[in-house]
Amino acid sequence: MKYVDEYRDPKAVETLSKEIHHITRHPWTIMEVCGGQTHSIVKYGLDRLLPPEVTLIHGPGCPVCVTPIELIDTACELAKLPEVILCSFGDMLRVPGTHEDLLRVKAQGGDVRIIYSPLDAVAIAQANPSSQIVIFAVGFETTAPAQAMAIIQAQRLKLQNFFVLVAHVLVPPAMEALLSSPENRIQGFLAAGHVCTIMGYEMYEPITQKYHVPLVVTGFEPVDILEGVKMVVHQLEEGCAIVENQYARSVHRCGNVEAQRIIDDVFEPASRNWRGIGSIPNSGLKLRPAFARFDALQHFHDRIHLTEATTSPSSQCESGRILQGLMKPSDCSAFGTRCTPDHPLGAPMVSSEGACAAYYRYRPESIAKI
């Protein structure tokens, strides 16, 4: 496949690995922000191609993982209402709420449908005029324009039965929260290539200056990731801290302006509770007043019980520390024993971008023998 195969070329991977060995002089800790990058790193063993001085730590870039438990509970409550069809990306179905997950609600008769695109939910709303359609809108900036377009399309079609449970989160405030933590050990970032495809990368420049951390906008294939690491290590060794763009075939400095306009038309920033991490100011999106009639929380407020915000999904689950890069999945005592994809304690074990799922799938040797 064009624009994929050449970025998985073993010779290019070997070249970049050698180059990173060649330029590395000091120990460095680099965080890859996006869960998609984490999966590539673990799947292809890219961390094992790096010199021992370079440590990759996995970031919070898994929207499924950071969706707060109270929103999972709300989605479950909504899906139990007989008139509701709850539409969700497949990843969300196995994420544990306080007492249950969406898959269990579906098994007990709730109408939960897995969608590929937010526009699928619009089509379901058109095809089912006597039902109330709720889309569980999860995602980062990458997904926000698609959700916004679906809402605009529902408005164009004058759909009265289309609602949105908004769980959108934004990356830069979370990165800044990590950097300002007293436990921070991040010295450089691989920024999330598809988030930057939408938003550009100008907004990272003040962050790199304030915290003196280099940041390289990076793609998702093995060659992309190793090139991103090489660029970060080069800056670190030179004492630089600027924003660079490895993923230039998709990302421009100002991003996708049309997509930003559509996000801004429909959504505005709001504080958001991140599962396992806590509340971060202006790190989420909510519907603007002009689109308030699509707000599922507002429309169904007298039909559901909202649970209180909580940060800890389970006293046994270390996902908060894993999502902040403070520990690796294999450091968790529950990993692969009390917590597995069949019986997850937290979201990172079941999300396709979750760090725990990546280690479970590609690093079976890291599961403690019992």
């Binding site: 496949m1 064009k2 624009y3 929207p63 997904t143 421009h252």
Partner: protein, 82 residues
């Protein structure tokens, strides 16, 4: 969640969503092209949840591969003397 893959535009419909047929190594899918108004038939776009989010910059892609090839030949040149 932010997974997005490149595909080639085969057709573009004249509707409000600018729906296009995009081929992913032979597998085709209907994709909304409204966010990439500059993309035309034959162009490659990066597609996420049914929406093209960028047009692939072919020049930038060529340059990045070329840089790595140059790096590789540099390493090969170095090896006999090292």
């Amino acid at each position: 969640m932010c997974l997005a893959i490149p595909g080639q535009i085969q057709r573009i419909a004249d509707d409000e969503l600018r729906t296009g047929t995009v081929s992913f190594a032979g597998v085709t899918k209907e994709v909304c092209l409204a966010l990439v108004p500059e993309a035309l038939v034959g162009d490659y776009v990066i597609v996420h949840v049914g929406f093209a989010i960028s047009k692939v910059d072919e020049q930038a892609a060529k340059e990045s591969i070329l840089l790595i090839e140059q790096l590789s030949s540099g390493q090969t040149d170095e090896s006999p003397s090292s």
